[in-house]
Each structure stands twice: as C-alpha cells, then as structure tokens.
Symmetry: D2
Subunit: 350 residues, 4 copies
C-alpha cells in the first residue's frame, strides 16, 4: 500500500514518517515540503538517518493522488481546506491532522480560527478520527480529521464520565501542561531555548481553540451541551501533555464506581491504560512514562470534601495526540490489526 | 542584631542564610543542623563559599535563645512544636517556617498532618506571617508562622477576590505546578534526577495539606467558609510555583473591575506585581521571571463564555514562598524598611 | 528460548526487560531483585505497565540456571564474581553487564575497583562483549562481559584510529558528558533533582574506572600500549553519552583519509552511523538523536592548526552502552539476526 | 555618573541594565535598540518590570556621547567598529562587549571573523578588559574590549600556569560546555526549545573564534606562542560555561604546587574562587553554583598516570563572561570599589 505525507517537514510529519517507515504494510511514496523541497528528509528529521533515502518534494495534488492509496496531511491549520475538494474528488482516502475538518459547524471556524471555511460541505462528510469514539465511521470514512493533541487528551479523560453524567456540565475545567513540541517546528522568541527553558508559562489561560472540538465531541456523548473551560500552560519538556480535569459531582460516586465507568467504556482498547496505584512514584498518569508510545494513560482521584472528581490523562502529543492516532486510523481503514506499527512501549527513564 | 537559624541545612535554611548574610542589619550567630553539626555551612550550601566561615552546630534551645535576638526555625513539620514553649517563654522573637503554628484550630493538625498538637495554647498567640494580610500583627507578634509556599501563592492570588466576593465560594480550584526544591533537600526515589527530570507528575491531585491554611486565611477575608480544592503537580524545574486559580463568577465583572480590585487591595505592596500584558511572551506571571526575587507576580484572565475568572500567581518557593517572606517579617518586627536585604530583581534569562 | 535477568530492578535491568519483552525469540523466565522481591516489575519500571505480569524474585543460582538458557546479569560491580563460578559450571551462557569480567588482568581490579578478584581464572575465559571488535569470540563464548557505557562510546570512537595509528598514543584525551541514568537507580544527594538539574559537574576529572577497559581494548588493536586520559562530566539530561576524543596527529591526514579509515573498519556494522554533515543543526553526533536506539553515531573534525583530530561518539548509555549491546550479543550467540529486537529508530524531537 | 548601553535588547545588554539599575553610583541615560526603539525595556527583559520606566531608543552617536559619561556597547560583532572612531574622538570612555577590539592583530579579524577591520589604528589603543590581567591598563584606558565569555573562562583557568610554564604549550586542549544564552537572543532552529532541549551538541569542535583572543592573552603571559585547541559543546542549561582544560606536564608538579601557583597569581582577587574539595557533591567548579554571580570558580586535578593537569573553570557567561566584567571594568575606570554593584552570591539550588 502506498502512502504519502503532505507537510512532512514539521514535527507531526516527521513522526508520521518514523511510524510509516517502521510499518510493515506500507511504503512511503511521497513526503512533501514547500520549504525543504529537494532536501533529504533525514536532514530535517535526524532520527531517520540511515532509514530512508527519501527527499522532500513540492506538493502537487494530482501527482499525490496518483501515487498514493492514502494521504496523510500535516500542513498548518487553514491550508488543507484550500485543496481538499480537489483531492477528495479522486476518491482517495485522506487522514488530515490539521484542524480544517474537525469541526462540524462551519461557523465555529469563524469563531475559533478566524477564517471562513472554504468547503463547508466537506465538514459533514469528515469523520472525527478518534478511534475510541468513532471506530466504525473511521472504517467507512474517506476524510478523517485527526483530533488536536490537547483535545485528544481531554476527550479521552472525559468521555466516559460525559456519557454517564452525574457531574456539573457547565463547571468542567481542564488545566493543561504541555511540552514544547506541541508548538511546532518553527522557531520563535517564545520557543527560543533561553526563553522557554524552565518556564511554567500560562500561554493560553482562556480561549484555546481546542475547546471547540472537545465540546463538540463531549456534547454528543453527553446528549446535551457540555462545556469545557480550558487553560493551557507550557512546561519544560519537549514531548507530552498532562490534562488535569476538575469536575464537580452532582451525585455520590465511589472510587469503585469510577473504575467501573472507565473500564466499561474503554473495555480492551489497546491504547488506553487506567493508572491509579496506591504506592510507588508513578501512581497517576505522567507524560514521562508514555513518551514514544501510543498510550493515553488515564487516572483519577476523588476529593470528597469538595464533591470533586479529578481526572488525569497523559499522552505523547506527537503520538496518541497526532501521528499515532493517524496511523491507528489508517490501520482501521484498511482492516489491519489496529496496533500494527504502533505496538511499542515507552522508555524509562528518559 | 543577632539572629539564628534552627534547621539550617535544608533548602529553606540555606536560603535564609543567603539572605541574612547579605542583610545589612543582622549577624548570624547560629546555624543548627543535627546531621551536619561541625561541618562548614558552605559545604552544604555551595553558593555561600567565600561568604561565611560559619559551621553548623547542634541545636540547644537555651544557648540559642541566649545568643540571638530572633530565631528563624526551618525544621521539618512536627519538630518546632516540641521545643517552642521553652523558647517562647524566654521572650525571644521567633519566625517559624514550618507548619507547626500556621493553623488556628488544633483539630486541623490531626486532620491534615496526622498528629495531635502538643502546645495548642500557642496557636492562638501565633501570627500567620503573610505581610500583605497581617502586617500589624506581625509587628507586634512574638511567634510568627510563615506561610507554606503553595499557600502563599494561592492566598496572594485569591485574597482580593475572596474579600470582594462575587464568585462561587465552593467551586474554587487551584491547580499548582511546582519545582523540585519545594520537596526539600532529602533525596528520595521520587526526586532522583532520572525519575524527576521531564515529569509532569500529579503528585497530590487531592488532599494537599496547604488546603487548611489557605481556607483559614481566605475564610477570614471572605467572612464565611471559603473552600479551595487543590491539585499539585511536580514539573521539571527547581525553583518556582505557578498557581492557576479557576473561579466561577456569580455576577458580571470586567477586566477593569478586576484590575481595580487587585490594585486597591495591594496598593503599593513592595513585593506584589500585577502582570497582564497584551503583547510579548511574558504576558502573564511565570516563575521563570521571579526566581531569586521576593516577588509574587499576579495576573488574570476573564473567560466570558464560562463565567470563569482565571487568576495566576508566580513566586519563588524559597523566597516569597519561604525565606523571603520570613526576612520581610523580621524587617517588619524590627521596624526596618521592609525591603531591606530583599530588594532584588530576578535574572533573565535563566 | 528462556532467558533471565539477574539484578532486574536497576536501569540496565529495566532496559533489558523492555528489549526482551519485545524480542520475538525469547521468553523472560526470571527477573530477580533482592530489594523488590515479590513486587510487580511494572511498579518499578512504569513503562512496562500492561506488557508483563512478571514479578521480581529473589536470586537463587541453581533455580536460575535450571529455568533459563541464558542469563543476563545486571548486578552492581563486585557482585557477579561471587556467584559466577557456580553458574558457569552448569554450562549456561551468561552475559554480564557489570564490570566483574571485563578486565583480563586480575591486578587491574585492585587498582581500579579496589578489591581482589575472587575468580581470576574466569577472566581469561570471559569475552569482552563489544560485537564490533569481538563478534566471533562472542559467538563461541560462554561468559560475555558487556562493556561499560562510557567505555563503549570511547572504544567505538577510537578503535579504527587506534588500529591504524598515526597519532600520539600517550596524548589521547577523552572528555565525556553523560546523562544521569548512567549513575544508576539508587537516589543520592548528588542525583537529587534540585542538586543535579542544570549541572555541568566534572564528577570524575581524572581516574575513571572505565579507563582500564578502554586501554585494554585499544592497546590490543594498536599493538602497543595505548593510553587514554579520561574526564567525566554530568550534564542535565537522563539518557545519553557524548565522548569527545582529542588526538594529536603524528602524520598528515585528510578528511577523506579519516572517512576511509572509519568506513573500512566499520563496513556495514548495523549499529554504527558515521555522521558529519556540512549543514543543518545535527552535523555531528548528539545523544539527543540516538535516545532509545542502539546506534553509536560517530563523527569527527580535523583541526589543522593544531594537528588535532577530534572524534565524537554519541550513544544511549542504557542501549548501545548496556542493554542494547547485551541483546546484540545474545543474538550473535544464538545465531539470530543481530538486529533482532533492536532494530529501531530514535525519537525526534525528544 | 551617566551611562548608556548601546545594543541593549540582547542578553548581554539586558544583563548590563540589570546590574546598572542596581549600581549605586550610576544612572542609565540611554538604552538603544534598533529593533525595539520606542518599546519599554521591561517588555524585552521581563525581570526589569517595576524597576525602570526606560524605553529603548534608536542609536545616535553624537546624542549618546553628549548624554553619557561612559558607554557600554553590546552590539553584534562587526558593528561597533563602524562607529567607534566617531565616538572615541569625543574622549568618552567606552566598554565594548563585542569582539571588535579584542584582538591586537588586524589580520586576525580576517582569519577568525572573515572581515577586514575598518579602524585598525584603534586596536592598539584598546585594552583587553580582563581585570585579573590588565587592571592598570583598564584604569587608564579609553576603549576597553571586554573578553568573550568562553575566552574569559579559558584565560582565567590557564593564565597562572601559562605564566609559570612546565606544560606542553602546543598540546593544550580546552573542552567547553556552554548554556544556550551564550548564543544570544535571536531565535533560530538550533535554539528552538524542541531542538535544543536535551542536547550535548558539539557545535564547534574546531575553529572557534575565541581561540584568537585566548592565544593572544596567554602568549603574552607565557612569553612565547601558546596554542589552545578548543572544542565547544552546547548543553541543556541557559546560563553557564564550564571549561575543562587538559594540559600535559613537562615536569613533576604536586597538588600543593598547583595550589601555590594559583593562589599567588590570584591573591585576593574578589571574583576568583579556588574550588577543590575532598568531599561533598560540589568538589569542583560547576556553573550551577555561580549563576547570577560574578565569580569565576577555578579548580583542578592531577592525573599522575598521564602527566596530565586538568584545570576547570566555571562562570556565568552573562556575568563574569560579559556584563559582570564590564561593570567591574567601569568600577576600575572610575576608581570605585571594584565589587560595587557586583557583590552578590549565587542561588542554590537553582
């Protein structure tokens, strides 16, 4: 099976290449980059040295669809919607990791992204590519819109309780701590090592764009408007997200109840681990433990004094938060084992 | 004026020594450590090399009170209450940086610390040593109980709004991100560099002890029970705390209103800076900027969609969160300029 | 094939477990730890959560040899020599990752390790387990002594030039920069995160123990006494070693010559990459790029003004510096593809 | 006394502002930046918030010389030589922190910097501004050329032994490990946090420009050509340099001898500390301990087996490696206490 990566010079593109190179069932026919066209991909992604002779090419839609059976798109937000109709028309399967097709409501793009969507008719067609929620639609879908990294962390932490209820749906807070790779491969003053090292920087205390997709997905599960108030902080790591979700309970609930809700919801999902230990130093999810793996670790604690449920989720923003989920979607689409090319542990210590 | 530091080999003790060595009005007569008695203090606190020939001594209460006009106590929690009555009897001024005299309610020690207080009669006498709230009592007090580092960050962020009201007092969440020095100088597996580097570790998602003092102080200001649901996360830095406070508003409030409330409350407090910029990369408080200084930077954002007020405070846990406030208290006690020995900027970049 | 790991609770032991769990041809029958006997291994190695139900057991030599076809030993230095004769007698294959059988000269243990070797007769029998130098002996060997992590980095950087000559053999300097995981899993003040974070600590400017094995191996290649003056520095990362080797040339040599020497020596070694780029930001070896992989990246630069050759090597101390090489040795012993279970890329960025 | 800072928006400029704001004897009349003209300086240097209302201005030489008694220049290399003659003519004292006037030999600028010097006649007039070597000339000088940060570390480590002799003068190696702030305030891919975090990057294994000034100064002391072969590595910290100097002895020398040589050379230099402890975890110089201070810590070890002397020096590249030395030079020029405005300890832990 031949696949291509459009926008392959960024961090998500590089992670896709890493996974696809190792994937036993696909060949990478195409890796595009406007900026680095003609350059060896290992020059930009130094971990690929010795693993591929591929060079970046400029993107040409018709050539791309000719050469490939499936396209991964990892361009910046606002780009893929400019060429998607042309591509989709050819019938090719597309997994888009940008935000352009995640939201169902065209008006939400004006509110959250500041631009009018150029092909709103495709929004309906697009599938929100989180396997744990939309496996069947992914299998049948032509256009898969992969979740945002922070959205994936929040939705996976909250989905079971959003569906089950028993919490104040307009008092949900998600406090994020994220690594620097989530900001992309383009240098800026904010990402300059002397300025970013050692920060606990509340870079988006309110109004983060991922709110839109989180609320969209959780409202579906909840059956009514489900609000999520986000705050995002940058911390001194490269990979990883921790989402700390604070919820207020409207009814009595026990630790065993929460376990049961989460176990039932996730069953034997291959990439969800429930983590809550009574001893040791890794009693709750910690991004440190999932770096390089496709896991989303989920844990929780009950704060009886305050009727509060604290849900915690940790994932690698480039894996389960982006490229890992995209490859999982591809495996679903082609009917392969969902773990193919993804079945790996994290490193410890790291 | 002669001062002594009891429990001087820990990080708070070391920071006290650093500040007192530079302080123009005091001499350090005494630095005690059970473990390192006989050792030069600069061996343990390498930044003091060349600044003092002082050696650690074993602690002897009567010698300590004889030699000093004021004692700083930086022993582990549960220690100072064992010898405090003997010391207080001599009339000496004491600034205790442990938790032993922060709480007014003796029963709270059983609930939060797990031990019965041995001299509850002193709890009433003790003053909670946060200058911004209790300046006059500190001036007159004999026994000052310095705030916990996370408590200081939360109380300073919340005090003005707790006093003013207009928020849901039982829906307040404070999500903390803290550096490793807050865990003290004693090595453990959790603090082992390979295990602690790169973490976002939710080490205390519920039930943190500082809850008690935060609620005590804010309830006084609020005039009624003020609840604070804490969650504490360890991140990959050494010094610094960021407190992200999430509050739900019960009435309409504007950015200008919040500015006014905070400006009025803090007036010209020397160590409070209000930080909220429309541009640049340090638009909100960030511990990176206050490391080594005695500042508590406070900022905020309004999330109109969710009637949410996000308050942010950043401080250096060893300075404004411990030794800096203790020295500020000493300055108040002796009627000196409050900034004496503390008037310094942070370093940038660091 | 059944294998066991003796001393499985340390970092090298944990990395062995990670690799062996993924290895398609072996089952782990045994993981021993005195300290954690009875505990699930994933409690200590949190990345293994969900991958094994194995528990640590106490070590019993006869049970171990009965249960396994090959034993990996990752105990602290000085331990394996106490039980090795008993084990070796059974004919079992052993790969020892401690220092106990690396040196040929029994007297070297007194000089460098401070203890007399208890079974010097086995030193002759033992094979120094660096595949790039001793592949054939490893295949036939019963007792393989895996190289130290810093020794591996230095030997791989220097072997080709040591063999070829043309440098001052008593003026070789190797300046190491190493991550904290090299110090092992046991906490200490030196490894306490507040004390270790941000260091550039010259913890062993002279007299490092690995000198002995480096000189032993390079002297063999060189055909005469080859001296290496080491200095070791701890830096603010967890995994990785960079060895900077400074050599003075005794004859004219060109960049092309060095390339040729190294290409000829290493041929198509699967885990050696020669890295020297004229552009980009990863022009030379950097441990950041090899974390989690079994590569040793080697690069160089010529300093014509000073007749100096600078050789650089980077590896992951737990992989090519320990467990990765051990598994490579096992693959050689059993005649499997040498890359089996090891054929993986690094992550980027990380 | 009125001073100005030309090129005040970089890290060295910011550090100068920090020191000058605290300095009791000067007022800052001028801080120039082409890029940020009109902007408050605290927007770029967030640690200065609340300490100054100063705004950046565009640079105008005649206005600058009118307004100030002394000018600090912290522009990029190659800039100050374009306007220096015009400024010097007015008789104003100038402390230049760029490389433009550090070298005596005009041809060296072509070799090491790649441009022809536009006012070579001023090179002779300029004083190399390292107080420990040129205190008297600094006092009388009009144009002071402050040392490069790595040069300062190397020269201070090597000066006493270069003067004394007994080492192979053409076999001196200095292996540097440097923090990211040394690369300046301008973002690039190499300094992007995801790319720079966790590196041990040999960014300049040979041919570093500071070689020229190091050899210039040490050759003067040595009385003959003194060669220094440099290699520079970037590590995962922001502030700090460690220079590891490897020298081969030509005569027997003892630890006591080395102590004596260094003590005699440095006498009671206020900012030099000799660090060599037999116990503890900070036995040798470590940049972690000097961050924020003006110290250069110097230590050593003898490697008898190899006739090697290892000299170690640690300093804060923005302090003793730049702005701290510049302020020390100013104090000398004006006859003030040399420690004025600089007499501070480092922070620990940090």
């Amino acid at each position: 099976m031949n696949v291509g990566v459009i926008g392959a010079s960024g961090y998500v593109g590089g992670e896709l290449l890493r996974l696809l190179i190792k994937h036993p069932r696909v060949d990478i026919n195409l890796a595009t980059s406007r900026r680095y066209a003609g350059e060896f991909v290992y020059r930009i992604h130094p971990n690929l040295r010795g693993w591929t002779k591929l060079k970046f090419m400029a993107f040409n839609p018709s050539k791309a669809t000719d050469a490939c059976d499936l396209l991964f798109i990892a361009t910046p937000h606002g780009v893929s919607s400019t060429f998607m109709p042309e591509i989709i028309e050819t019938g090719i399967r597309v997994i888009d990791l940008s935000a352009d097709f995640r939201l169902k409501d065209p008006k939400a793009y004006i509110k959250w992204y500041g631009w009018e969507h150029s092909c709103p008719e495709l929004l309906e067609k697009a599938v929100y590519g989180l396997p744990e929620l939309h496996r069947d639609e992914i299998r049948r879908g032509q256009l898969i819109a992969c979740p945002g990294c922070m959205a994936a962390a929040a939705i996976l932490a909250l989905a079971p309780i959003a569906k089950r209820g028993g919490i104040e749906k307009n008092r949900v807070i998600v406090d994020f701590k994220v690594g620097s790779s989530g900001g992309g491969a383009k240098p800026s003053l904010a990402s300059h090592h002397p300025e970013h090292f050692g920060v606990i920087r509340p870079y988006k205390p309110v109004g983060h764009r991922h709110t839109a997709e989180i609320e969209q997905e959780l409202s579906i599960l909840s059956g009514e408007k489900f609000s999520v108030a986000m705050s995002a902080h940058a911390v001194n790591i490269v990979r990883g997200i921790l989402a700390t979700c604070h919820l207020f309970l409207t009814e009595q609930i026990s630790v065993i109840d929460v376990w049961r809700i989460y176990r039932q919801f996730y069953g034997d999902e291959p990439f969800i681990r429930l983590v809550r230990e009574m001893k040791g130093i890794y009693r709750y999810p910690d991004p440190k433990v999932v770096v390089g793996s496709n896991y989303c670790d989920i844990g929780f604690e009950l704060d009886m004094d305050y009727s509060r449920l604290v849900l915690l989720s940790a994932l690698d923003n480039l894996m389960k938060g982006a490229a890992g989920t995209a490859v999982q979607d591809m495996n679903i689409i082609f009917g392969w084992d969902e773990k193919e090319g993804l079945w790996d542990l994290g490193l410890h210590p790291i």
